[in-house]
Protein backbone atom coordinates (compact mmCIF):
# COMPACT_ATOMS: atom_id res chain seq x y z
CA UNK A 1 0.00 0.00 0.00
CA UNK A 2 1.71 3.14 -1.15
CA UNK A 3 -0.30 5.26 1.26
CA UNK A 4 1.28 3.40 4.12
CA UNK A 5 4.84 3.32 2.90
CA UNK A 6 5.89 5.54 5.75
CA UNK A 7 4.62 3.02 8.23
CA UNK A 8 6.70 0.12 7.03
CA UNK A 9 9.74 0.99 9.09
CA UNK A 10 7.75 1.45 12.31
CA UNK A 11 7.79 5.22 12.00
CA UNK A 12 4.66 7.38 11.93
CA UNK A 13 3.38 10.34 9.98
CA UNK A 14 2.97 13.88 11.31
CA UNK A 15 -0.78 13.43 10.87
CA UNK A 16 -0.69 10.35 13.06
CA UNK A 17 1.22 12.23 15.76
CA UNK A 18 -1.38 15.00 15.51
CA UNK A 19 -4.27 12.54 15.90
CA UNK A 20 -2.56 10.91 18.86
CA UNK A 21 -1.87 14.27 20.53
CA UNK A 22 -5.52 15.26 20.11
CA UNK A 23 -6.79 11.93 21.42
CA UNK A 24 -4.59 12.17 24.52
CA UNK A 25 -5.89 15.67 25.21
CA UNK A 26 -9.38 14.19 25.41
CA UNK A 27 -8.51 12.01 28.42
CA UNK A 28 -11.53 11.66 30.69
CA UNK A 29 -13.75 13.90 28.55
CA UNK A 30 -17.43 12.92 28.41
CA UNK A 31 -18.74 14.82 25.37
CA UNK A 32 -16.99 16.06 22.25
CA UNK A 33 -18.37 18.03 19.32
CA UNK A 34 -16.71 16.44 16.32
CA UNK A 35 -15.96 17.36 12.73
CA UNK A 36 -15.01 14.88 10.03
CA UNK A 37 -11.47 13.89 9.17
CA UNK A 38 -8.75 14.24 11.79
CA UNK A 39 -11.08 15.27 14.66
CA UNK A 40 -13.28 12.27 14.02
CA UNK A 41 -10.33 9.87 14.06
CA UNK A 42 -8.88 11.54 17.15
CA UNK A 43 -12.15 11.26 19.04
CA UNK A 44 -12.61 7.64 18.13
CA UNK A 45 -9.01 6.92 19.14
CA UNK A 46 -9.70 8.61 22.48
CA UNK A 47 -12.83 6.50 22.92
CA UNK A 48 -10.74 3.33 22.54
CA UNK A 49 -7.96 4.59 24.83
CA UNK A 50 -8.07 7.47 27.32
CA UNK A 51 -11.78 8.43 27.20
CA UNK A 52 -13.90 5.27 27.24
CA UNK A 53 -17.06 7.24 28.14
CA UNK A 54 -16.60 9.82 25.40
CA UNK A 55 -19.82 10.55 23.52
CA UNK A 56 -19.48 11.92 19.99
CA UNK A 57 -21.77 14.79 19.04
CA UNK A 58 -22.14 15.93 15.42
CA UNK A 59 -23.79 19.17 14.35
CA UNK A 60 -25.88 17.15 11.89
CA UNK A 61 -28.01 16.17 14.91
CA UNK A 62 -26.30 13.03 16.19
CA UNK A 63 -25.51 12.24 19.83
CA UNK A 64 -23.58 9.12 20.82
CA UNK A 65 -22.55 8.01 17.36
CA UNK A 66 -20.68 4.72 17.03
CA UNK A 67 -19.80 4.77 13.35
CA UNK A 68 -19.05 1.38 11.83
CA UNK A 69 -16.93 2.97 9.13
CA UNK A 70 -14.86 6.12 8.69
CA UNK A 71 -17.54 8.78 8.11
CA UNK A 72 -17.31 10.52 4.75
CA UNK A 73 -18.97 13.66 6.11
CA UNK A 74 -20.51 14.90 9.33
CA UNK A 75 -23.82 13.73 7.89
CA UNK A 76 -22.74 10.20 7.05
CA UNK A 77 -25.58 7.65 7.43
CA UNK A 78 -23.19 5.46 9.45
CA UNK A 79 -23.32 8.11 12.16
CA UNK A 80 -27.09 7.66 12.42
CA UNK A 81 -27.47 3.90 12.50
CA UNK A 82 -26.68 2.70 16.00
CA UNK A 83 -26.43 6.16 17.56
CA UNK A 84 -27.92 6.88 20.97
CA UNK A 85 -30.07 9.77 19.77
CA UNK A 86 -30.65 11.52 16.45
CA UNK A 87 -32.60 14.78 16.53
CA UNK A 88 -33.27 18.00 14.65
CA UNK A 89 -30.42 20.48 14.40
CA UNK A 90 -32.62 22.93 16.31
CA UNK A 91 -32.65 20.56 19.29
CA UNK A 92 -28.95 19.79 19.01
CA UNK A 93 -27.87 23.41 18.93
CA UNK A 94 -30.32 24.52 21.65
CA UNK A 95 -30.34 21.67 24.14
CA UNK A 96 -26.86 20.20 23.80
CA UNK A 97 -24.57 22.96 22.56
CA UNK A 98 -26.17 26.13 23.88
CA UNK A 99 -27.16 24.45 27.15
CA UNK A 100 -23.45 23.90 27.77
CA UNK A 101 -23.42 20.10 27.56
CA UNK A 102 -20.51 19.99 25.09
CA UNK A 103 -17.27 19.72 27.04
CA UNK A 104 -14.84 19.93 24.18
CA UNK A 105 -15.31 21.04 20.59
CA UNK A 106 -12.67 20.26 17.98
CA UNK A 107 -12.41 22.97 15.36
CA UNK A 108 -10.13 24.11 12.57
CA UNK A 109 -9.94 26.96 10.09
CA UNK A 110 -7.93 28.62 7.38
CA UNK A 111 -6.35 31.28 9.61
CA UNK A 112 -5.74 31.57 13.33
CA UNK A 113 -4.25 34.48 15.24
CA UNK A 114 -2.32 34.69 18.51
CA UNK A 115 -5.51 34.96 20.59
CA UNK A 116 -7.09 31.91 19.01
CA UNK A 117 -9.54 33.83 16.84
CA UNK A 118 -10.37 31.94 13.67
CA UNK A 119 -11.08 32.77 10.05
CA UNK A 120 -12.93 30.29 7.87
CA UNK A 121 -14.77 32.84 5.70
CA UNK A 122 -12.52 34.61 3.18
CA UNK A 123 -8.95 35.30 2.12
CA UNK A 124 -8.89 38.90 0.97
CA UNK A 125 -11.78 41.26 1.50
CA UNK A 126 -15.20 39.99 2.46
CA UNK A 127 -17.08 41.58 -0.41
CA UNK A 128 -14.50 40.73 -3.10
CA UNK A 129 -12.57 37.76 -1.74
CA UNK A 130 -9.48 36.32 -3.32
CA UNK A 131 -10.51 32.96 -1.91
CA UNK A 132 -14.03 32.32 -0.74
CA UNK A 133 -13.77 29.82 2.13
CA UNK A 134 -16.69 27.72 3.46
CA UNK A 135 -17.79 30.17 6.16
CA UNK A 136 -18.82 29.52 9.72
CA UNK A 137 -20.99 26.47 9.50
CA UNK A 138 -21.59 25.87 13.17
CA UNK A 139 -18.11 27.04 14.22
CA UNK A 140 -19.09 30.46 15.56
CA UNK A 141 -21.73 29.19 18.00
CA UNK A 142 -19.74 26.07 18.79
CA UNK A 143 -16.73 28.14 19.91
CA UNK A 144 -19.03 30.42 21.91
CA UNK A 145 -20.97 27.68 23.71
CA UNK A 146 -18.70 24.66 24.10
CA UNK A 147 -17.04 24.54 27.50
CA UNK A 148 -13.61 24.26 25.90
CA UNK A 149 -12.27 24.40 22.35
CA UNK A 150 -9.37 22.43 20.87
CA UNK A 151 -8.10 23.55 17.49
CA UNK A 152 -6.61 20.97 15.14
CA UNK A 153 -4.65 22.62 12.32
CA UNK A 154 -1.56 21.95 10.28
CA UNK A 155 1.18 24.39 11.32
CA UNK A 156 1.65 26.58 8.25
CA UNK A 157 2.75 30.18 8.02
CA UNK A 158 -0.21 31.05 5.81
CA UNK A 159 -2.55 29.77 8.53
CA UNK A 160 -0.87 31.16 11.67
CA UNK A 161 -1.10 34.84 10.89
CA UNK A 162 -0.54 38.17 12.59
CA UNK A 163 -3.90 39.54 11.40
CA UNK A 164 -6.94 37.60 10.28
CA UNK A 165 -8.60 38.65 7.05
CA UNK A 166 -11.94 38.07 8.81
CA UNK A 167 -12.96 36.90 12.28
CA UNK A 168 -15.47 34.13 11.76
CA UNK A 169 -15.17 32.58 15.19
CA UNK A 170 -14.11 34.29 18.41
CA UNK A 171 -11.22 32.98 20.48
CA UNK A 172 -9.92 35.35 23.15
CA UNK A 173 -10.59 38.36 20.86
CA UNK A 174 -7.98 40.95 21.88
CA UNK A 175 -6.74 38.81 24.75
CA UNK A 176 -6.86 39.14 28.55
CA UNK A 177 -10.49 39.21 29.73
CA UNK A 178 -11.97 40.55 26.51
CA UNK A 179 -13.85 37.30 25.83
CA UNK A 180 -15.38 37.10 29.29
CA UNK A 181 -16.28 40.77 29.25
CA UNK A 182 -18.49 40.22 26.22
CA UNK A 183 -20.36 37.56 28.19
CA UNK A 184 -19.30 34.61 26.04
CA UNK A 185 -20.28 31.55 28.07
CA UNK A 186 -17.66 29.00 26.93
CA UNK A 187 -14.15 29.14 28.39
CA UNK A 188 -12.56 29.46 24.96
CA UNK A 189 -9.65 27.78 23.17
CA UNK A 190 -7.48 25.57 25.36
CA UNK A 191 -5.16 23.89 22.89
CA UNK A 192 -3.90 24.22 19.35
CA UNK A 193 -2.91 20.77 18.18
CA UNK A 194 -0.72 20.86 15.07
CA UNK A 195 1.42 18.40 13.14
CA UNK A 196 4.60 19.78 14.72
CA UNK A 197 3.83 21.00 18.22
CA UNK A 198 1.20 21.68 20.84
CA UNK A 199 0.16 25.15 22.03
CA UNK A 200 -2.03 26.43 24.83
CA UNK A 201 -3.30 29.78 26.14
CA UNK A 202 -2.36 29.41 29.82
CA UNK A 203 -1.20 32.93 30.50
CA UNK A 204 -2.80 36.17 31.58
CA UNK A 205 -2.78 37.59 28.07
CA UNK A 206 -4.59 34.49 26.77
CA UNK A 207 -2.03 34.38 24.01
CA UNK A 208 -1.05 31.22 22.20
CA UNK A 209 2.14 29.71 23.59
CA UNK A 210 4.21 26.70 22.64
CA UNK A 211 4.04 24.01 25.34
CA UNK A 212 5.19 20.83 23.69
CA UNK A 213 7.32 19.88 20.71
CA UNK A 214 6.75 16.64 18.84
CA UNK A 215 9.73 14.25 18.62
CA UNK A 216 12.32 15.47 16.13
CA UNK A 217 10.76 18.92 15.64
CA UNK A 218 12.96 21.95 16.38
CA UNK A 219 11.99 25.33 17.79
CA UNK A 220 13.17 26.90 14.56
CA UNK A 221 10.81 24.73 12.52
CA UNK A 222 7.94 25.90 14.67
CA UNK A 223 8.86 29.58 14.63
CA UNK A 224 9.22 29.46 10.84
CA UNK A 225 5.57 28.56 10.42
CA UNK A 226 4.09 31.26 12.65
CA UNK A 227 3.49 34.80 11.50
CA UNK A 228 4.28 36.42 14.82
CA UNK A 229 6.96 35.85 17.49
CA UNK A 230 5.19 33.07 19.33
CA UNK A 231 5.48 32.83 23.11
CA UNK A 232 6.88 29.76 24.80
CA UNK A 233 5.70 28.26 28.09
CA UNK A 234 8.25 28.41 30.91
CA UNK A 235 8.77 24.69 30.66
CA UNK A 236 8.66 23.03 27.28
CA UNK A 237 7.90 19.34 27.15
CA UNK A 238 8.45 16.86 24.37
CA UNK A 239 5.42 14.92 23.25
CA UNK A 240 5.97 11.19 23.53
CA UNK A 241 5.62 9.43 20.20
CA UNK A 242 2.55 7.34 19.33
CA UNK A 243 2.46 4.00 21.09
CA UNK A 244 2.16 0.81 19.04
CA UNK A 245 -1.41 0.47 20.35
CA UNK A 246 -2.34 3.97 19.20
CA UNK A 247 -0.83 3.37 15.77
CA UNK A 248 -2.54 0.01 15.48
CA UNK A 249 -5.93 1.52 16.23
CA UNK A 250 -5.45 4.32 13.70
CA UNK A 251 -4.12 2.07 10.94
CA UNK A 252 -6.36 -0.94 11.39
CA UNK A 253 -9.54 0.27 12.99
CA UNK A 254 -9.99 3.94 12.23
CA UNK A 255 -8.38 4.91 8.94
CA UNK A 256 -7.26 1.73 7.27
CA UNK A 257 -6.91 3.49 3.93
CA UNK A 258 -4.84 6.29 5.43
CA UNK A 259 -7.19 8.90 3.99
CA UNK A 260 -6.58 11.36 6.80
CA UNK A 261 -3.59 9.96 8.64
CA UNK A 262 -1.10 9.61 5.86
CA UNK A 263 1.24 12.54 5.72
CA UNK A 264 0.20 15.39 3.55
CA UNK A 265 0.87 19.06 3.38
CA UNK A 266 -2.64 19.97 4.48
Amino acid sequence: MTTHDMHSDGAYTPAEMMIVAAARALAGVRTAFVGVGLPNIACNLARFTVAPNLELIYESGVYGAQPTRLPLSIGDPALVTGATSVMSMADLFAFYLQRGLVEVALLGGAQIDRFGNLNSSVIGSYSAPRIRLPGSGGACEIAINAQRVFYIMYLKRRAFVEHLDFTTTPGYLSGKNSRQELGIPGEGPQLVITDKALFDFSNDLREMQLVSLYPGVTLEQVDAEIGWPVKRAETLTEMSPPTPEELHLIRIELDSQGIYSKSRSE
Binding site: L72, S121, G135, E141, G183
Partner: protein, 305 residues
Protein backbone atom coordinates in the same frame (compact mmCIF):
# COMPACT_ATOMS: atom_id res chain seq x y z
CA UNK B 1 -58.95 14.67 1.15
CA UNK B 2 -56.99 16.10 -1.73
CA UNK B 3 -54.77 13.83 -3.74
CA UNK B 4 -51.65 15.98 -4.03
CA UNK B 5 -49.59 13.62 -6.15
CA UNK B 6 -47.92 15.37 -9.06
CA UNK B 7 -45.06 14.67 -11.40
CA UNK B 8 -41.89 16.54 -10.54
CA UNK B 9 -42.21 18.42 -13.80
CA UNK B 10 -45.70 19.60 -12.85
CA UNK B 11 -44.75 20.53 -9.31
CA UNK B 12 -41.69 22.56 -10.34
CA UNK B 13 -43.56 24.26 -13.18
CA UNK B 14 -46.38 25.26 -10.86
CA UNK B 15 -44.46 26.48 -7.82
CA UNK B 16 -40.90 27.34 -8.80
CA UNK B 17 -41.47 30.42 -10.97
CA UNK B 18 -38.73 32.77 -12.13
CA UNK B 19 -37.61 35.09 -9.35
CA UNK B 20 -38.92 33.15 -6.35
CA UNK B 21 -36.88 32.02 -3.36
CA UNK B 22 -36.36 28.27 -3.08
CA UNK B 23 -34.97 26.17 -0.25
CA UNK B 24 -34.01 22.62 -1.21
CA UNK B 25 -33.09 21.50 2.29
CA UNK B 26 -31.63 18.50 4.11
CA UNK B 27 -28.32 18.59 5.99
CA UNK B 28 -25.79 16.50 4.03
CA UNK B 29 -28.61 13.99 3.53
CA UNK B 30 -31.96 13.83 1.71
CA UNK B 31 -30.74 16.44 -0.79
CA UNK B 32 -33.24 16.47 -3.64
CA UNK B 33 -30.98 16.56 -6.69
CA UNK B 34 -33.97 15.47 -8.80
CA UNK B 35 -35.74 18.75 -8.05
CA UNK B 36 -32.61 20.84 -8.64
CA UNK B 37 -32.06 19.21 -11.99
CA UNK B 38 -35.70 19.72 -12.99
CA UNK B 39 -35.38 23.42 -12.13
CA UNK B 40 -32.32 23.60 -14.38
CA UNK B 41 -34.13 21.76 -17.16
CA UNK B 42 -37.09 24.12 -16.99
CA UNK B 43 -34.68 27.04 -17.39
CA UNK B 44 -35.72 28.98 -14.29
CA UNK B 45 -33.92 32.30 -13.77
CA UNK B 46 -33.27 34.84 -10.99
CA UNK B 47 -33.99 32.43 -8.16
CA UNK B 48 -32.89 33.14 -4.63
CA UNK B 49 -31.36 29.84 -3.56
CA UNK B 50 -31.56 29.17 0.17
CA UNK B 51 -29.71 26.27 1.77
CA UNK B 52 -27.52 25.90 4.85
CA UNK B 53 -25.00 23.81 2.93
CA UNK B 54 -25.32 24.62 -0.79
CA UNK B 55 -23.59 21.31 -1.62
CA UNK B 56 -23.17 20.03 -5.15
CA UNK B 57 -26.77 20.69 -6.13
CA UNK B 58 -26.50 24.48 -5.77
CA UNK B 59 -23.03 24.38 -7.35
CA UNK B 60 -24.72 22.81 -10.37
CA UNK B 61 -27.70 25.14 -10.31
CA UNK B 62 -25.53 28.24 -10.10
CA UNK B 63 -23.37 26.92 -12.94
CA UNK B 64 -26.57 26.48 -14.94
CA UNK B 65 -27.48 30.11 -14.35
CA UNK B 66 -30.72 29.75 -12.41
CA UNK B 67 -29.69 31.91 -9.44
CA UNK B 68 -29.55 35.60 -8.63
CA UNK B 69 -28.75 35.22 -4.93
CA UNK B 70 -27.55 32.66 -2.41
CA UNK B 71 -28.43 32.44 1.31
CA UNK B 72 -26.24 29.95 3.18
CA UNK B 73 -24.13 29.03 6.21
CA UNK B 74 -21.48 26.59 4.94
CA UNK B 75 -20.11 26.50 1.46
CA UNK B 76 -18.29 23.24 0.90
CA UNK B 77 -18.23 19.88 -0.82
CA UNK B 78 -18.73 17.93 2.43
CA UNK B 79 -15.73 15.79 3.25
CA UNK B 80 -14.13 16.62 -0.11
CA UNK B 81 -13.30 20.33 -0.43
CA UNK B 82 -14.54 23.38 -2.31
CA UNK B 83 -17.62 24.09 -4.39
CA UNK B 84 -15.80 25.40 -7.43
CA UNK B 85 -18.72 26.81 -9.42
CA UNK B 86 -19.91 28.79 -6.43
CA UNK B 87 -16.38 29.98 -5.76
CA UNK B 88 -16.05 31.18 -9.36
CA UNK B 89 -19.31 33.07 -9.02
CA UNK B 90 -18.37 34.64 -5.68
CA UNK B 91 -14.69 35.26 -6.37
CA UNK B 92 -14.79 36.19 -10.06
CA UNK B 93 -18.42 36.85 -10.92
CA UNK B 94 -18.30 33.97 -13.40
CA UNK B 95 -20.47 33.14 -15.24
CA UNK B 96 -22.37 35.96 -13.52
CA UNK B 97 -22.13 37.78 -10.20
CA UNK B 98 -24.07 36.20 -7.36
CA UNK B 99 -25.51 38.15 -4.47
CA UNK B 100 -25.24 36.39 -1.15
CA UNK B 101 -26.28 36.53 2.47
CA UNK B 102 -24.35 34.53 5.04
CA UNK B 103 -25.17 33.16 8.51
CA UNK B 104 -23.88 30.50 10.83
CA UNK B 105 -25.68 27.15 10.95
CA UNK B 106 -27.63 27.95 14.08
CA UNK B 107 -28.46 31.36 12.66
CA UNK B 108 -30.02 29.73 9.61
CA UNK B 109 -31.87 27.18 11.75
CA UNK B 110 -33.10 30.06 13.90
CA UNK B 111 -34.30 31.99 10.85
CA UNK B 112 -36.32 28.97 9.74
CA UNK B 113 -37.74 28.53 13.26
CA UNK B 114 -38.80 32.18 13.43
CA UNK B 115 -40.37 31.86 9.99
CA UNK B 116 -42.13 28.64 10.93
CA UNK B 117 -43.55 30.06 14.13
CA UNK B 118 -44.41 33.59 12.97
CA UNK B 119 -41.95 35.21 15.36
CA UNK B 120 -40.34 38.57 14.55
CA UNK B 121 -36.90 37.21 15.54
CA UNK B 122 -35.08 34.21 16.97
CA UNK B 123 -32.60 34.69 19.85
CA UNK B 124 -29.41 32.61 19.99
CA UNK B 125 -26.01 32.60 21.68
CA UNK B 126 -23.80 33.22 18.69
CA UNK B 127 -22.06 35.99 16.73
CA UNK B 128 -20.55 37.74 19.78
CA UNK B 129 -17.04 38.76 18.83
CA UNK B 130 -17.46 37.58 15.25
CA UNK B 131 -17.21 39.87 12.21
CA UNK B 132 -20.35 38.31 10.75
CA UNK B 133 -22.77 40.94 12.18
CA UNK B 134 -20.63 43.70 10.66
CA UNK B 135 -21.06 42.34 7.12
CA UNK B 136 -24.65 41.16 7.58
CA UNK B 137 -26.79 43.74 9.33
CA UNK B 138 -29.68 41.29 9.57
CA UNK B 139 -27.78 39.89 12.54
CA UNK B 140 -28.54 42.14 15.50
CA UNK B 141 -28.19 42.15 19.27
CA UNK B 142 -30.97 42.95 21.70
CA UNK B 143 -31.09 43.33 25.46
CA UNK B 144 -32.80 40.82 27.71
CA UNK B 145 -35.42 42.55 29.89
CA UNK B 146 -34.53 40.20 32.77
CA UNK B 147 -30.78 40.54 33.23
CA UNK B 148 -29.89 43.21 30.64
CA UNK B 149 -27.61 40.76 28.91
CA UNK B 150 -27.16 41.27 25.15
CA UNK B 151 -28.19 38.38 22.95
CA UNK B 152 -27.95 37.88 19.19
CA UNK B 153 -31.11 37.70 17.09
CA UNK B 154 -31.82 36.78 13.49
CA UNK B 155 -34.96 37.61 11.48
CA UNK B 156 -37.50 35.10 10.15
CA UNK B 157 -36.93 33.43 6.81
CA UNK B 158 -39.99 32.35 4.82
CA UNK B 159 -38.92 30.85 1.49
CA UNK B 160 -41.47 31.00 -1.29
CA UNK B 161 -40.94 27.30 -1.88
CA UNK B 162 -39.39 24.55 0.22
CA UNK B 163 -38.46 21.24 -1.36
CA UNK B 164 -37.99 18.34 1.05
CA UNK B 165 -36.92 14.81 0.24
CA UNK B 166 -38.08 12.00 2.55
CA UNK B 167 -38.53 8.27 2.74
CA UNK B 168 -42.31 8.22 2.48
CA UNK B 169 -45.56 10.14 2.40
CA UNK B 170 -49.20 9.38 1.74
CA UNK B 171 -50.96 10.95 -1.21
CA UNK B 172 -52.16 13.89 0.93
CA UNK B 173 -48.54 14.71 1.69
CA UNK B 174 -48.33 13.51 5.29
CA UNK B 175 -44.61 12.86 5.40
CA UNK B 176 -42.41 10.62 7.53
CA UNK B 177 -38.66 10.90 7.65
CA UNK B 178 -36.08 9.17 9.82
CA UNK B 179 -32.35 9.56 10.19
CA UNK B 180 -30.94 13.10 10.13
CA UNK B 181 -33.95 15.34 10.75
CA UNK B 182 -31.87 18.44 10.01
CA UNK B 183 -34.09 21.49 9.62
CA UNK B 184 -36.66 19.97 7.28
CA UNK B 185 -39.64 20.42 9.60
CA UNK B 186 -38.71 24.04 10.32
CA UNK B 187 -38.20 25.04 6.69
CA UNK B 188 -41.39 23.29 5.59
CA UNK B 189 -43.49 25.18 8.13
CA UNK B 190 -41.67 28.41 7.24
CA UNK B 191 -42.24 28.17 3.48
CA UNK B 192 -45.23 29.50 1.59
CA UNK B 193 -45.36 26.43 -0.65
CA UNK B 194 -44.01 22.96 0.08
CA UNK B 195 -43.06 20.24 -2.38
CA UNK B 196 -42.33 16.87 -0.81
CA UNK B 197 -40.38 14.35 -2.87
CA UNK B 198 -40.35 10.78 -1.59
CA UNK B 199 -38.94 7.38 -2.29
CA UNK B 200 -42.33 5.78 -1.67
CA UNK B 201 -45.98 6.79 -1.57
CA UNK B 202 -47.70 4.76 1.14
CA UNK B 203 -51.23 4.27 2.40
CA UNK B 204 -52.51 6.75 4.96
CA UNK B 205 -52.73 3.82 7.41
CA UNK B 206 -48.95 3.42 7.34
CA UNK B 207 -48.56 7.03 8.46
CA UNK B 208 -51.24 6.78 11.12
CA UNK B 209 -49.64 3.64 12.57
CA UNK B 210 -46.70 5.72 13.83
CA UNK B 211 -47.82 9.34 14.32
CA UNK B 212 -44.68 10.38 16.23
CA UNK B 213 -42.69 9.75 13.03
CA UNK B 214 -44.71 12.27 10.96
CA UNK B 215 -42.54 15.33 10.49
CA UNK B 216 -44.61 17.28 7.97
CA UNK B 217 -48.41 17.20 7.77
CA UNK B 218 -50.20 17.16 4.42
CA UNK B 219 -51.89 20.37 5.59
CA UNK B 220 -48.84 22.42 4.57
CA UNK B 221 -47.86 20.33 1.54
CA UNK B 222 -48.79 21.53 -1.93
CA UNK B 223 -47.42 18.68 -4.00
CA UNK B 224 -46.13 15.21 -3.22
CA UNK B 225 -43.93 13.58 -5.83
CA UNK B 226 -42.58 10.06 -5.92
CA UNK B 227 -39.03 9.96 -7.28
CA UNK B 228 -37.03 6.87 -6.37
CA UNK B 229 -33.34 7.70 -5.91
CA UNK B 230 -34.38 11.35 -6.13
CA UNK B 231 -31.62 12.35 -3.70
CA UNK B 232 -28.77 10.65 -5.62
CA UNK B 233 -25.79 11.31 -5.28
CA UNK B 234 -26.87 12.34 -1.77
CA UNK B 235 -28.44 9.61 0.34
CA UNK B 236 -31.67 8.51 2.01
CA UNK B 237 -31.30 6.73 5.35
CA UNK B 238 -32.09 3.03 4.97
CA UNK B 239 -32.65 3.31 1.21
CA UNK B 240 -29.25 4.14 -0.31
CA UNK B 241 -25.84 5.47 0.58
CA UNK B 242 -24.18 8.64 -0.56
CA UNK B 243 -22.48 8.05 -3.91
CA UNK B 244 -19.15 9.37 -2.73
CA UNK B 245 -17.42 8.62 -6.01
CA UNK B 246 -19.55 11.33 -7.58
CA UNK B 247 -18.70 13.84 -4.86
CA UNK B 248 -15.02 13.19 -5.65
CA UNK B 249 -15.64 13.29 -9.40
CA UNK B 250 -17.48 16.62 -9.13
CA UNK B 251 -14.42 18.11 -7.42
CA UNK B 252 -12.55 17.51 -10.70
CA UNK B 253 -15.36 18.32 -13.16
CA UNK B 254 -16.40 21.53 -11.46
CA UNK B 255 -12.92 23.05 -11.53
CA UNK B 256 -13.39 23.48 -15.29
CA UNK B 257 -16.37 25.55 -16.54
CA UNK B 258 -16.43 23.66 -19.84
CA UNK B 259 -16.43 20.24 -18.24
CA UNK B 260 -19.13 21.50 -15.91
CA UNK B 261 -21.33 22.50 -18.84
CA UNK B 262 -20.66 19.18 -20.57
CA UNK B 263 -21.70 17.37 -17.44
CA UNK B 264 -24.91 19.42 -17.24
CA UNK B 265 -25.58 18.66 -20.90
CA UNK B 266 -25.10 14.96 -20.45
CA UNK B 267 -26.78 14.39 -17.07
CA UNK B 268 -29.42 17.11 -16.89
CA UNK B 269 -30.39 18.70 -20.20
CA UNK B 270 -30.17 15.49 -22.20
CA UNK B 271 -32.18 13.33 -19.82
CA UNK B 272 -35.95 13.68 -19.81
CA UNK B 273 -36.41 13.28 -16.09
CA UNK B 274 -34.92 11.67 -13.00
CA UNK B 275 -36.10 8.22 -14.02
CA UNK B 276 -33.96 8.56 -17.14
CA UNK B 277 -31.06 9.79 -15.01
CA UNK B 278 -31.43 6.72 -12.80
CA UNK B 279 -31.49 4.41 -15.82
CA UNK B 280 -28.36 6.12 -17.10
CA UNK B 281 -26.64 5.51 -13.74
CA UNK B 282 -27.29 1.82 -14.16
CA UNK B 283 -28.36 -0.82 -11.72
CA UNK B 284 -24.83 -1.89 -10.83
CA UNK B 285 -23.99 1.53 -9.49
CA UNK B 286 -27.21 1.79 -7.51
CA UNK B 287 -26.84 -1.70 -6.09
CA UNK B 288 -23.45 -0.80 -4.69
CA UNK B 289 -25.19 1.98 -2.74
CA UNK B 290 -27.73 -0.29 -1.07
CA UNK B 291 -27.14 -0.61 2.68
CA UNK B 292 -27.50 -3.75 4.77
CA UNK B 293 -30.42 -4.43 7.04
CA UNK B 294 -30.75 -2.51 10.33
CA UNK B 295 -34.43 -2.20 11.21
CA UNK B 296 -35.87 -0.46 14.23
CA UNK B 297 -38.20 -2.49 16.37
CA UNK B 298 -41.93 -1.74 16.36
CA UNK B 299 -43.46 0.10 19.31
CA UNK B 300 -46.90 -0.42 20.80
CA UNK B 301 -49.32 2.52 20.64
CA UNK B 302 -52.23 0.52 22.01
CA UNK B 303 -55.81 0.32 20.76
CA UNK B 304 -58.06 2.24 23.15
CA UNK B 305 -61.76 1.49 22.80
Amino acid sequence: MDDKRRSLREAIAEYVRDGVSVAIEGFTAFICFAAGHEIIRQGRRNLTLIRMTPDLIYDQMVAAGVARKLVFSYLGNPGVGSLHCLRRALEKGMPAPLEFEEYSHYGMVGRYIAGASRLPFFPLRSYIGSDMPTVNTNIKFIESPYDHEMIAVVPPLNPDVAIIHAQRADKQGNTQLWGLLGMQKEVAFAAHKVIVVVEEIVEEAVIRADPNRTLIPGLIVDAVVQVPFGAHPSYVQGYYDRDNSFYLEWDVISRDPHRTQSWLDEWVYSVADHAAYVRKLGTDRLERLTPGHAPSSAVEYGAYQ
